[in-house]
Subunit: 237 residues, 2 copies
């Protein structure tokens, strides 16, 4: 079999949740797919698959990757090893594979685990998507950054000191994957005196989204929640 | 005239350049628009209008905002004052206005100038778009960030010291609006010993895009160019 007869792996961003925030390119690829792959957290429906659902053709072959939500990385790595092997077999047989990714494939997405395993052997085409960061800003009505402002994206699991240091040094901050780290993050923001500039956003662009001042955020924040801090010294006029 | 009879201002992200990277929601709003608005840099066609072109209906009313490219902010502010007044008149008359925005409206976009002028008086709906940051990463084949990595977005016009400080403190950095600041930025990155991890991307997702190691970047970088630095200590496996 020649190199040319191998399939292409498409890493397709499906955006933050509202199916209408998928790009035309993503929709076209999904509608014409013969094989799709997607991560699914252990015990739940795949969020990426749900977003794309109405465009997934009948009879498509599906490769779910069941990723356990553990702090240790070993079990998730094993799930991606298994998924990558199944995807590689399809690509080797000349089939294209469309991998569905929440948000954008290269922006805190699990697609990079597949990319690390497959990009040296196969042709990979990455289709960017709308990220949860700009979706949250849009839904909260909060411009993120303009002109010479610095914007920092931080994952919620970071330790206190790292969070505090990076929040202090940027005009705007988006903190992702808040979930069970909410209390720690809120403490840090409170100590920095930034509670009045902090907004909590949950499931942005979905019917059950919530946008609240951080002070009013629920204790049981879901994994797909975010905190935006926009210091906004400049009135953007 | 009651409040309810006023029109809605839609701030619509049209993505990084490839028309197929527009969202379904953006396309639907543009196709059904009676009035569109867009910024245009003095003497050039509007990039946002060009991206959206094939969906703009015949007979639509167009409100271009001719923004001068000056370092002083006064002339640009005057252009947005004039545009906002014309848009406000349409909204007051009950017409919806679809404002086309390159990338995402709230991510270093000029839409925030309209938002600052109009959001207190009118209903505004912001539709997020694919940003140039993730488009550049996709085209360069460079995952931006995963797990607990910090990602910082910096505007190229920042002074040397601010750039150096923020580049040093994040695992991944995207520097926007490179243009005539290329030499300064390259010097800073070189002094930090990060040239081998730095990639230059110009006009990502367009037919004439260029992806090069920063060391090979052209001296005459256009405004729509970006530098990605991904330190990648972690192999994402």
């Amino acid at each position: 079999m020649t190199e040319l007869s191998k399939g292409t792996l498409y890493g397709v961003g499906v955006g933050p949740g509202d199916p209408d925030l998928m790009t035309m390119r993503a929709i076209d690829l999904i509608r014409n797919a013969k094989v799709i792959a997607f991560p699914t957290l252990h015990g739940t429906a795949s969020f990426a698959r749900t977003i794309a659902a109405k465009h997934v053709p009948e009879g498509v072959r599906e490769i779910p990757m069941v990723v356990p939500m553990t702090v240790e990385r070993g079990p998730a790595q094993a799930a991606y090893d298994t998924g990558a092997a199944e995807i590689a077999a399809a690509l080797d047989a000349g089939e294209d594979v469309v991998c569905l990714c929440e948000g954008d494939p290269f922006f805190y997405g699990s697609f990079m685990y597949l990319y690390a395993r497959l990009a040296t052997r196969f042709n990979v085409d990455v289709v960017p998507g709308v990220t949860s960061v700009t979706a949250c800003a849009a839904r909260a009505g909060i411009p993120l950054a303009a002109r010479n402002e610095r914007l920092t994206i931080l994952p919620g699991p970071l330790p206190r000191a790292a969070l505090a240091d990076r929040i202090a040094g940027a005009e705007s901050v988006a903190i992702m994957k808040v979930g069970r780290h909410l209390r720690k993050i809120r403490d840090v923001i409170s100590e920095l005196g930034l509670m009045d500039q902090a907004t909590y956003v949950e499931r942005a662009s979905l019917p059950d989204e919530r946008v609240l001042p951080l002070a009013d955020a629920p204790e049981d924040a879901p994994y797909f929640s975010m905190i935006l801090i926009v210091k906004g010294g400049d009135p953007w006029l």
